[in-house]
């Protein structure tokens, strides 16, 4: 039908507009990071690397970047290990209170960031950790566990439920079955979870702002520059942040999608 086709194209065009809205800020950041205008507007000025040179010479930004990377790697490793334990427990065992158990693992993203930040600040300063890098790692691990758990749990869902019992029947101990059956099967999702949680931590600004004190991370530095006037340096820093987190999220998703097409064969 003609009318059906028209509706179809209108809906597609609308979808395109929504994508423009969602990706406009990311594109604008990247474009204006190479633009000579002090105030980013159109028509565009000339091509420049001025803003990149400015942040390259800024030790504040570099120290924050190093801190951010260290925190992201540590929080990713911790939350992926804990997320794997949780996902495997949910996959393998049945016990009383399991839905409450899983809620405990998955709930953090539903708590507003300012409240999370305040609670972390109050508690971590109580136990003497506020203002340290450890405080940021602890808070980010809490916020990353849900994503790691979900990614690994979905992968385990795709495993033939008889594989692990088959290994036991063939004489493998529970540990041997874990090492030779579960871990190889879950590996893509473990790497995926590592990338995704590293991106979550690397981009987290609110809780880090509350608990990091003088140990600022990159998003906190951005947040503080933002409180002044519009500063084109943020476009350059932001482009670096985007490239990092988009790369991580794309890798995470590639690994996640690859598995759903071809089921992995256990050697």
């Amino acid at each position: 039908m003609m009318a059906d086709r028209v509706v179809g194209w209108v809906l597609r065009a609308y979808l395109g507009l929504i994508f423009v809205f969602i990706f406009a800020p990311i594109a604008a950041n990247i474009v204006f990071s190479f633009n000579s205008l002090r105030f980013p507007t159109i028509p565009l000025g000339s091509f420049t690397l001025e803003w990149y040179q400015m942040i390259a010479g800024d030790s504040n930004v570099w120290q924050a970047a190093q801190r951010s990377i260290f925190i992201a790697l540590t929080a990713a490793a911790l939350s992926t290990v804990i997320g794997f334990c949780t996902a495997y427990t949910d996959y393998r065992f049945r016990f009383f209170g399991k839905s409450a158990y899983m809620a405990l693992s998955l709930l953090p993203p539903t708590i507003p960031l300012v409240i999370m930040g305040l609670a972390m600040l109050a508690w971590l300063s109580r136990i003497g950790l506020s203002g340290t890098i450890a405080a940021v790692i602890i808070a980010h691990t809490v916020m990353c566990i849900p994503f790691a758990t979900a990614v690994i749990r979905l992968r385990l869902n795709q495993m033939d439920a008889n594989l692990e019992p088959a290994a036991w029947n063939l004489g493998a101990s529970e540990w041997a079955a874990m090492r030779t059956v579960i871990l190889p099967f879950a590996l893509p999702s473990i790497v995926s979870a590592l990338c995704l949680t590293a991106a979550v931590s690397f981009d987290e600004f609110a809780v880090a702002w509350f608990v990091s004190g003088l140990n600022k991370t990159i998003p906190v530095v951005i947040l503080e520059i933002l409180q002044g006037v519009i500063d084109p340096r943020i476009n350059a820093i932001g482009t670096g942040v985007f490239v990092t987190s988009i790369t991580l999220v794309v890798i995470a998703q590639m690994l996640f999608m690859a598995r759903s097409r071809k089921p992995l064969v256990v050697q």
Binding site: Y14, I18, N29, I42, T89, R94, I115, D203, A206, I246
Partner: protein, 294 residues
Amino acid sequence: MVADMAAVAASSEGQRERLTSYALLWRLPMPIWQIAFFVIPLLFLIAVSFFIVKNYRVEPGFLPENWTKILGRYIFWKTYGYTFLLATIATIVGTVLAFPAAYALAFKLSESARRWAVFLLIIPFFTSYVVRIFAWMFLLAREGVVNGALGRLGLGPWTMLNTPIGTMVGYMTLTLPLVIILQTFALAGIDQRYVEAAHNLGCGRLRAVFTVVIPLAKVGLVIAALFCFILSFGDFVAPYYLGGSTPPTLPIMIVDQTKSGQQWPRASVIALTMITTLFVIAFLFVTAAYRRRT
């Protein structure tokens, strides 16, 4: 070996198993971490809300005045109402804006195109929200790109920054990708035969959407709206940087109370009020989602 076989039987039949050290090793790390660093910090807020601030230092104590002073102020309830209103508008706007996009993704695109679209939508959800808000700060400015483009069409310039419009753009930047993804999954899960049956029975396209598609996808659509509300209600970046923080919202109040003057107890009162509100809202939404149509 016998124990292994028993374990096999138990797990495949879905019964409870004996708690071995193997099971405990996998089971314990998450609750230990989440109780120590998630549950206790949140519960600790209740204690902090009764603490005393002396000379810019927070000291343990029992001071009900934190509660009475905050809850007794007109400005608090005005801010509460304004925050609630903004989040409600964001939920409606987000749901309405996302629906045609999710509909197109679920019904008008091929399986692989849909997968790629969701792939793309997941990316902004995990990429720096603060940097994207900064981009809107100069895009929406009076001399910014958006007004420049409008000017070529003979419109504007409009003041969008430091108005509720700016706040709304920020909320949509935060929530739209997630709302579209959740709505798409809800719509894609519908059994297409119901929609075809409605068409065969002479039901118009738009009427089928409202009487067949939306009721069938209700649970997912309501959950998407709930996330839109939770995220907007708790966000301080959009109302602060794009809305100009006047009038303030509750998250901005929390930031102000905490960052200037060490007023953690009062900030805790506001935080606990917000959490209670979100609990009630979540309960109402979930109840509405699963209620049978009469």
